[in-house]
Symmetry: C2
């Protein structure tokens, strides 16, 4: 089943080659489809790796193994299987992942722990080992491909290929970050959601790369939601080959660390926004800015309560400035809030301030704002200095069609 | 806007008159509609009252006043306004509620605190005091009406009138419970959801009535969800007139207390199920039974995570035995779970046991079960003795149509 390209789609960016990163794709045939579905990325010796993973306790073997293998800090290869998530498949699923790791480790002459595997697709069907190994063999012999080819190949229900790029000056060297991501449903925060991969030629020590990735994730992937559902396979990995030749970054006292951190955050935020833009059935991108909370974390949780409210999401789909539903969502968030200090706005225009509808509220400019593709909701809790922005999409008939008509 | 009657509707039951309870309805004209929208219930002197209220911190003045007035334990009247929730309306909204209370207290010669008011409808528009007071005056002069008339009048987006009845033998007397409820959207648990009212001629001390209502709510209203959204006005009140002449119930050592508690729970569960049956867009009633949890509370939270998952709800709408989505929802619940002990079934047929899909799983009977209106999902966590059942409905195009086309 294919779906129309999201109206919120963005063109794939120009991402230059990144030294130490070679992309290849192949057909493993996990589903009966005429497309590549196995992505193989070879990484130069000495590549640092960091990762954030789903907090779903029913996670896949890929997630379990990846989480364990991050500890040793080095990566030589990444394999992404599309069409079968291999989650909830017991020992048979795990054997297939280990077979892929062993096959590539033998080919590269590296430790098995330096091979990272992700899988995405249906839950509960063991990844077919034969198809996986034949697919890996085909990928090992394939010609290198483009970023867009890789982005297309990791996708499943995605309606457009998603990538991001940034550069930074680090110790006199220009370093480049290139990244791809897939995901459009089963997208909820509080963990790394979806499958995302960031590659850079910057030299970064693994522990610091992990710190930076965790921080960037908290303000990007963990601030988006499509449907409040959380995949069993969600993974974001960052790989730093070091080929740019900068003095390796070990912490914020390393020259250029701030610039690299900013670029990494920028790339993660670009990726996160692209996932929301491909949210199943999305017609509008909604940015919810919460201020005046007792803390930034509290602001984020209030924002997510609004972003996950079906009644708010359907109101935006209907282009209805229904700020009462926003009040409701604030009140149910379980966070400190005071009805009589609460202010709500759309598109930068306040509808209600300090607990009361504005007597001179003019709905016309708000209605015009809601007709656009990019909608903003502003909430001020009037309690403290905490703030956060959270992104989601509207809830439309398209979401129902995609998810009720889908057959597992 | 009117919607087609839910396919899951039930006929209104036969509820006999309850001594000490007189129902009347009138037209306050809160909206431009040709129907009664104000319900007035007069209660005999000495009526005990208990209540459970929304935990939404942005609650209405009605909820604030009702919660405060429950403490004195006695009620003489109930007013329910339909079409305007009066929530988020500041002091003007509160003044309208107090005006209604004063008007009725003067009429009955009772304390203002013995008059309970609920309102349901749009948020953010102060209840018009003039219309309310004229409506109350009309109701005071109206002829008594039937239970079904009252149930129709408290409704807003409801597609059918909802009522329940039970009897019990208490100290040699037959006591009767009659109840009405409204609600079809913005329905989430963890509080008394919707507006529900239980009336009985049983004599029950206020404190014990509160204990019983809180307990019954925990296993009924707090175990249902339609859309995970939580109204700012949700209220369930129980009124006991004592006209049956039994020795008043003060605790479980009072003769007949167990029988009355069972009847109250029965009525609350009937009401809760009716709300789910009128869930916006509902085509199927889904009962989710969770066993093997570390506690009953944990089981309930796992059940609600499944019940609130858009992906599970759309799968049921699509009649798809997508047990992988149930695994996902279990894993994201934030409760103890072990992928390798988890079992999932539909309609009493296991699809996966102890972390593995069943090798001899036959989808045909499950598919047949899912084509029906009443769907069950069974989850065994394999960890302990905790169990709970949670009810919800499927997520369909109807929900989107109702909530995206609605104009505030």
């Amino acid at each position: 089943m294919t779906h129309a390209v999201s109206p919120l789609a963005r063109p794939f960016p120009v991402i230059p080659p990144i030294a130490g990163v070679t992309l290849r794709v192949a057909r493993a045939g996990y589903k009966d489809w005429g497309r590549c579905d196995l992505t193989y990325v070879e990484l130069a010796q000495g590549t640092s790796v960091a990762g954030v993973f789903t907090r779903n306790v029913c996670c896949s073997s890929e997630v379990e193994l990846g989480r364990a293998n991050i500890a040793q800090g080095q990566a030589r290869a990444l394999v992404v299987n599309a069409g079968n998530s291999n989650a909830f498949t017991g020992y048979r699923g795990r054997e297939a992942v280990e077979a892929i790791m062993d096959q590539i480790a033998a080919h590269l002459g590296c430790a098995r722990e330096q091979v990272f595997v992700s899988s995405t697709g249906v839950i509960g069907v063991p990844l077919p080992k034969d198809k996986a190994q034949a697919g890996v063999a085909a990928a090992l012999g394939a010609a290198p491909c483009s970023w867009q080819d890789a982005a297309d190949t990791i996708g499943t229900t995605d309606t457009f290929a998603k990538g991001a790029m940034a550069t930074a000056m680090v110790g006199g060297k220009t370093v480049t970050l290139g990244a791809i991501i897939k995901g459009s449903g089963m997208i909820a925060p509080d963990m790394a959601t979806m499958l995302g991969y960031v590659f850079t030629d910057c030299a970064v020590a693994p522990a610091f790369l992990q710190d930076l990735l965790s921080t960037a994730s908290a303000r990007s992937f963990n601030c988006i939601t499509v449907d409040s559902d959380t995949s069993t396979s969600d993974t974001v990995l960052a790989f730093a080959t070091g080929a740019a030749g900068n003095a390796p970054l070990h912490g914020f006292d390393s020259p250029g660390a701030d610039a690299f951190a900013a670029a990494l955050h920028d790339v993660c935020l670009q990726l996160a926004h692209l996932v929301v833009r491909d949210g199943e059935g999305a017609q509008k991108l909604i940015a919810i800015s919460v201020s005046g909370a007792v803390s930034n974390d509290s602001a984020r949780r209030v924002g997510l309560a609004i972003a996950n409210s079906p009644l708010v999401k359907t109101a935006i789909a209907g282009e209805d400035a229904n700020w009462g539903r926003v009040v409701m969502a604030v009140g149910k968030a379980g966070e400190p809030a005071d009805r009589d200090r609460l202010s709500i706005g759309f598109g930068g225009i306040w509808c209600a301030r300090e607990g009361l509808p504005l007597s001179d509220y003019d709905e016309a400019p708000v209605a015009a704002h809601l007709k656009g593709q990019d909608v903003t909701i502003e909430v001020d809790l009037g309690l403290g200095q905490g703030r956060a922005t959270v992104w989601t999409c509207d809830l439309t008939h398209g979401y129902i069609s995609i998810n009720a008509d889908y057959r597992s």
